[in-house]
Subunit: 176 residues, 2 copies
């Protein structure tokens, strides 16, 4: 899965890219501090052809589009940037409410609501995109690590998430 | 959850005790090497009163009892000792076959069989038990860290697992 990455990653970076558990829990243990969500975007969008195919829904179906950063509560510096798509029709009423009121990590919602699922990693990449360098406040030459995975429940994609962080983050525990 | 532990744990130990993802994946990234299962015990037992209550089954119901160690393929030294109980009646035929043919990590079976689940940690403890010190080949004064969690699928406990490792293991990445 790492074959297209031409550089050595830290064990911690691999862990964040490969875990099938809650990323929030992982970040809380890594940093030793509570992690909170800052919602940058939260809106209902219509599925275009590409995302409709990926999620196995119809074009024009309603999606919840959510962009957040995860950060320690005592810091403004983002740990991870996460973009997600959720087909509205697949959300239980309570989950929908939690997701839309924002600022709650998805893993926490799922645990609270006792939602059974599995996670399937679709791709892991190294990307260059100045926008991320601004968000993370890192020099422009720093590439980003990114992974896209699906949270599957009742045999359907419930949430498709892309998580991104700088190659210079998570080189070791308590140092990011 | 750590309130009864009167000592400082490494971030890595906390991660192993708190993760809600696959422990095998976690160990593979931590050690940088493939992890394999060695089956020590694998047999069908009848549920006694205590385990029947915990699993919400009837006394005398059949359970698959499995004791394994997880270790790196190039080493005889166990990383983790794991004991599990699975109500036979709750196993899909294919899962049952995989579980009983042994030597496959449970996380891998669940991923392969696309089983949706959630994990609920029940307790985390520090224990003293000479048997573990022998298994891990560590001095007798070394306490063990142990956690018990349930893998829940279809709202029922599919597997109840207790994982144990020495307090002197996993102090940092690549050193255990």
């Amino acid at each position: 899965m790492f074959s297209n990455l031409q550089c050595k990653l830290s064990a911690l970076q691999k862990l964040i890219l490969l875990t099938d558990g809650s990323v929030t829990t992982l970040l809380e243990v890594i940093t030793g501090k509570p992690v909170t969500v800052s919602t940058l975007v939260q809106r209902i969008v219509k599925a275009d052809h590409e995302i409709a195919e990926l999620l196995e829904i119809e074009e024009e179906d309603s999606l919840n589009y959510r962009v957040v950063t995860l950060r320690n509560i005592d810091s403004e510096k983002p740990l991870i940037y996460a973009e997600s798509y959720t087909p509205i029709s697949r959300l239980q009423k309570e989950f929908k409410y939690d997701l839309m009121k924002a600022d709650v990590p998805i893993g926490n919602i799922m645990q609270e609501r006792k939602i059974e699922s599995r996670r399937e990693i679709e791709k892991i990449e190294m990307i260059f995109n100045d926008e991320f360098n601004k968000i993370f406040d890192v020099p422009y030459h720093v590439p980003m690590l990114s992974r896209t995975y699906n949270i599957i429940s009742n045999n359907m994609v419930l949430i498709r998430i892309t998580e991104t962080f700088p190659l210079t983050s998570f080189l070791r525990f308590n140092a990011y």
